[in-house]
Structure formats: structure tokens, C-alpha cells
């Protein structure tokens, strides 16, 4: 229900009082209301919920978090402690093949 999906804003237009945008999600493009993200510009990533963008994703914040996480991941590869564990491997397999967006 609170499902919200990130997509790239590729086009904006104004119809009457409504600012709408075309948002690309993987292979699909959808028309989205931009009332709640007046600051969003073409090229930004927005999070979309029931036809409305509810946030503009903060690229710097994402980059910072991701670098931190990648660092954790790199440190870990040197530690084989859990390498052979079956539940872990199975769960990570699920992550690798994860398809649907929820």
C-alpha cells in the first residue's frame, strides 16, 4: 500500500494549474503529478506513490550512504567467516534474482 517507486523525470508539462511529468521506471513511462515536488527538474529521480511524486531523491545523500555501504562490503570480502553458510547463500541468491519492485 505504501509502495513507492523511484523513477527518472524525463519530461515536464503544465496543463491548466497542474504540473505533470513523464517518469521513466525501467522500461515503462508514466505520467505523474508533480504538485508535491515543485523543485523537481528533468533529470532528477523522484519517488512515485499512487500517481504523485512524493520526494525528489537526494543524489548526494544516496552517494554518501552508498559509498559507506560499499566500504562495509569491501571490508567484509576479506573475512571468510560466513562464506559457506547455506541460509546466507540462499538468501543472497534471492537478493541477486530479485525482480519485482515493491
Amino acid at each position: 500500500m505504501c509502495l513507492a517507486v523511484p523513477g527518472k523525470l524525463v519530461e515536464t508539462e503544465t496543463i491548466g494549474d497542474n504540473r505533470l511529468g513523464q517518469v521513466q521506471f525501467g522500461g515503462i513511462k508514466r505520467s505523474v503529478f508533480l504538485d508535491f515536488v515543485p523543485e523537481a527538474q528533468v533529470g532528477d529521480y523522484v519517488l512515485v506513490h499512487v500517481g504523485f511524486a512524493i520526494s525528489r531523491l537526494d543524489e548526494e545523500e544516496a552517494q554518501r550512504t552508498y559509498e559507506l555501504l560499499e566500504h562495509i562490503g569491501m571490508l567484509e570480502t576479506e573475512d571468510p567467516a560466513f562464506a559457506g553458510e547455506t541460509t546466507t547463500a540462499a538468501a543472497l541468491d534471492a537478493i541477486r534474482t530479485g525482480d519485482a519492485i515493491h
Binding site: A4, P6, N18, V50, I54, I95, H102
Partner: protein, 369 residues
């Protein structure tokens, strides 16, 4: 895809899981509130990945699951009228009311339509000026701005045939109720990232200060949730209780101001009954009196309807994290996603449905391992 794939990176997920195992020196009980997060945790087996010390219990964070049975009955009553086009998010159609569900009304010839956005219902109302179009306005804070905006735009368009059956719920009052319960085992919360995208997380600061319980705002991908769990475990092991934000790429302290503004203009805070839990003071939203002309309860005179919940469903205990779905005698027996007894078995985000899909054989798996 950007902002998705990197948060499903198996190497990072494993590293975080290992960090959690290494850090947790004693058992901790954590609760995620949001059903979308419950779904991710079950789907990727994160509960098993993080070891035995950290137990995850699942909160009341699926709006479909907490919509009270009488509201479903009201929807059924309205949708049964021949002059009505009833428009709803798909999840609500199979939620059992007292007598039947909305799918049954559709099968019997009622004009019940599924929409992805409330704005589709506004469009339907414009295209059908001789019919009453009613939108089932349920959800948490995440969905409230869109449902409010639909009413606002309908008024701007001068529509007189559009209304909403509103049953909105709010997350912080539910967390407060859980924390006040003497039975509560929860020691840390993952706050719902999309609710906080709209509302910010200043409301959670008050809960942290009052109850001295750590709360971390979390995202929805496996790496997000593992990081949020790692942050909670770190706080608990250090004896800290703070509000932290793991999902900073979308959530700010103040939240989305334009979204909050429209919610405040169209809705007001009200007491709400939660399915399985009962009445929680100031835990929901209803239409402001100036929008009475868009209030389906008033238009169709269904305000006073009441109903009883089926006694065999223990969803009240499941939604408060006191029982797991597998503890319910009806689970996977008389209650399945095809024939749900209670709402948590209906929505993919309901705890019972998530367990049915990913953990039905959990006990035997654990035995084999």
C-alpha cells in the same frame, strides 16, 4: 535500475548481516511498522540472515489490514447501489466484510473499479456526470496527500458527483499504543520510510524521548533494512535511544511541506478504530467539515454502521507483534490468500500473507538446517 539495484547488492547485504551478528551480544526484539518492509524482510529471508539474537516482529503497518470491518461493510453498501461507480485500490477488493467482499459485489454486477491513483477516480467522475463516483480513500500518511489532492482537484473542477469514503490512519499514535501496552516486547522500531517521506520524522523524536526506545527511519530494499537493523542493534548495545534516519535519500526531518499542507487543508485528525486493535485516540484522518459535500459517509448515510470481527482471527495479536502468523490455528488451514478470514491474509503486505508466501514451511526448514 538506479536506486534499486545498488540496495540489493548481495556483498553489502552479507556484510551488514555479519555486522549485526557480531554486534548483538544479547537477544533484541525489533519491530518494523510498514507492511512493505515486512514483505522485503520475508522475501529476502533477512530474519534468518541476521542470526538468532535479533528477533523481528511485524507491526500494524498495512492500511488494508487495519481498516475496520464496518468500513469495508460501508464500502460494500455504497458499491451495491446502482447509481454508483465505486473506485478502489486493488488490495481492498478481497478484504472480507461481514457478509462478503467488494469482489462479490463486482461479480454480482456492481460497478466496482480498481485504480492505481485517486486521480483516476476524478477522471471517471468527469466522464460520468450522471453517476456518483466514490473513491475508497484509505491508507497511511504516505497516501493521504494524494487522496486529499483528489478531493481538492474535484472541488476546483466543480464536480458534484465525486466523493471519498475516508478511513485514514496515522503511524505515530499506533506506535504509542504499542509502547504503552504492558505486553509489548519491542525494544526498537524501524519507522516507515515512505510515511516519513511525507511527514518527516520529528514526531518520532517525541516518542524516543518519552519511551527511551530507539527508532530508525528505514527504506524498503534489503540493504536499507539491514542497515536500519544494524543501526538499531548498535544503539541498543550502546544503551542509546535516538531517532536516526537510514533513508536520508528520501526522508528529511521536516518531511514534504507541500504534501503536508494539502493534507491539513482537506483532512483533520480524528479518533479511528483499527481492525483487530480497537479505537486509538487521534490516530486517523477524516474530511474537514467544509468538504462535507465530498464525504461519501454523509452522502450515502452510512455513518452509523457497526460490525463485529470474526472471532477465530487473531490478527489483533499479530498486528501488535504479540503473535506470529504461524501461531494462528487458522493460518494456512481455514485462512489462505484465496479464502482469507482476516485482512492480514489479503494484502501482499499483510504479515499473514507474507508468511504464507515465504514462510509456510519455515518450521520444517529450520529442522533440516
Amino acid at each position: 535500475m538506479r536506486y534499486i539495484d545498488e540496495y540489493r547488492d548481495p556483498k553489502i547485504a552479507q556484510a551488514l548481516a555479519d555486522q549485526i551478528r557480531a554486534r548483538a551480544t544479547r537477544p533484541w526484539v525489533l519491530m518494523e511498522i510498514c507492511g512493505g518492509q515486512t514483505h522485503t524482510l520475508m522475501r529476502y529471508g533477512i530474519d534468518e540472515l541476521i542470526g538468532d539474537q535479533v528477533e523481528l516482529v511485524h507491526g500494524p503497518g498495512c492500511p488494508v489490514c487495519v481498516t475496520p470491518i464496518e468500513v469495508v461493510d460501508k464500502a460494500i453498501e455504497i458499491a451495491s447501489r446502482p447509481d454508483v461507480i465505486f473506485v478502489s485500490y486493488g488490495d481492498m477488493l478481497r478484504v472480507p466484510g461481514t457478509r462478503c467482499d467488494l469482489f462479490r459485489i463486482k461479480a454480482e454486477g456492481g460497478d466496482v473499479r480498481i485504480a492505481y491513483s485517486p486521480m483516476e477516480a476524478v477522471k471517471i467522475a468527469r466522464a460520468n456526470p450522471d453517476r456518483q463516483v466514490v473513491f475508497f480513500g484509505i491508507g497511511f500518511e504516505t497516501t493521504a496527500p494524494a487522496n486529499a489532492m483528489a478531493v481538492w482537484k474535484a472541488r476546483e473542477l466543480g464536480l458534484t458527483n465525486f466523493s471519498e469514503l475516508v478511513s485514514h490512519v496515522l503511524v505515530p499514535p499506533a506506535i504509542r499504543l504499542l509502547l504503552n501496552s504492558p505486553d509489548s516486547r519491542v525494544q526498537g522500531f524501524i519507522a516507515p520510510g515512505h510515511v516519513c517521506t511525507v511527514m518527516g520524522y520529528w514526531e518520532y523524536k517525541a516518542l524516543v524521548d518519552e519511551f527511551h526506545v530507539p527508532i530508525v527511519v528505514g527504506g524498503f530494499e534489503p540493504v536499507d533494512l539491514l542497515e536500519a537493523i544494524a543501526m538499531l542493534v548498535a544503539q541498543l548495545e550502546d544503551g542509546r535511544a535516538e531517532v536516526e534516519n537510514q533513508y536520508a535519500r528520501s526522508v528529511t526531518y521536516q518531511g514534504n511541506q507541500p504534501a503536508q499542507r494539502i493534507v491539513g487543508q482537506v483532512f483533520e485528525v480524528a479518533d479511528r478504530k483499527w481492525r483487530g486493535i480497537g479505537n486509538i485516540p487521534a490516530s486517523g484522518l477524516r474530511l474537514r467539515p467544509e468538504f462535507a459535500a465530498f464525504d461519501a459517509e454523509k452522502i450515502f448515510g452510512v455513518e452509523a454502521m457497526e460490525a463485529e470481527e470474526p472471532p477465530e482471527c487473531i490478527s489483533a495479536l499479530v498486528l501488535q507483534g504479540l503473535k506470529k502468523p504461524v501461531d494462528c490455528p487458522a493460518f494456512a488451514a481455514s485462512c489462505t490468500p484465496e479464502r482469507p478470514l482476516g485482512a492480514p491474509m489479503v494484502s501482499a503486505e499483510g504479515a499473514c500473507a507474507a508468511y504464507y508466501q515465504y514462510r509456510r514451511h519455515a518450521t520444517s526448514l529450520v529442522c533440516i538446517a
